[in-house]
Amino acid sequence: MDRRLLLIAPYFVWLVGLVLGPFVLIIATSFALRDESGTLHFGLHFDAYRQLADPLYLEVLGRTVLLALAHSVITLVAAYPMAFFLSRLDRTSAGTYLTLLLVPFWTNYLIRLLGFMEVLRWRAFGMEWTFTPKGMLAALLYNYLPFAVLPLYSALEKIPTSLIEAAQDLGASRRRVFTQILWPLTRRPLIIVFLLVFIPALGEFLIPAIVGGGRSFYLGTFLEQQFLISRNWPLGAAAIAVLLGLSGFILIFAGKSLAEEGVA
């Protein structure tokens, strides 16, 4: 056998067994029929998708997409200045800051979230943060910030300081430096970072459950209910299929945008 084939064999087995296998199983389950006893009958039934078209579930999907969108925009806006600052530092200082950025994320996700709940209880700015959408947005920002800062830092680091200084020497304001130099050069990484923080947020479960207090349904909590409580696996699988479709559509759209700019 070709040595190269032998080398990729473990990856191939992993891909088929642990990525494609569960994916096919989810799609098959979404088309299954669940009888009154809870038994699944596999076939080509569209009941779960019909159920999913209920306005109640569409509202859950809409709410989830809105939360993920708001979170992605906030995270990008918060991460950009930090990434820019780090990109202008020497390697040692930037390394220190990056370590400080990453170390809190070596701790278990659940523990970090419980700690974050303690902070939210302080009622910063005289506002109630726990069990509210803004509390969830703060928690999402807290959790996804490094995923936005690191790729942005890597992109901004490649822009020479001399380019910015030249523009400033020629009289460009800070705003103009941003709109005419930084923005065009970092638009593509920004799209990638947007996807990096947006897509995982669509399926986020712990933040709506813990920080949101499970008070309103989001896709993650909805899935938990369908799979663990209601045991309506076809409906949960159909929701996952829709989520995968939505993520795929966004990825294709972003891929096309990047290809047009000559990246992909």
């Binding site: 918060a78 930090m82 600052f85 970090r112 979230l113 700690g115 807290y142």
Partner: protein, 62 residues
């Protein structure tokens, strides 16, 4: 740059705050003593270490 430094430090404080709150909540060594004397905790700690090491090795090999 000064403003950006303050902004970055504020964001880092935001990231460190939840962990600091948990670490310093009721600051004493009693919890650590309980932790080290609990065979359940030590056993789960060992299991997590084994699992994490196995995952790291397998992922790197793959």
């Amino acid at each position: 740059m000064k403003l950006l430094r303050v902004y970055t430090l504020a964001l880092l404080a935001f990231l460190w705050m939840p962990l600091s709150v948990l670490l310093f909540k009721g600051l004493s060594l009693v919890a650590f003593e309980k932790l080290l004397n609990s065979s359940d905790v030590l056993s789960s700690f060992r299991n997590s270490l084994v699992l994490a090491a196995a995952t790291a090795i397998l992922t790197t090999v793959l």
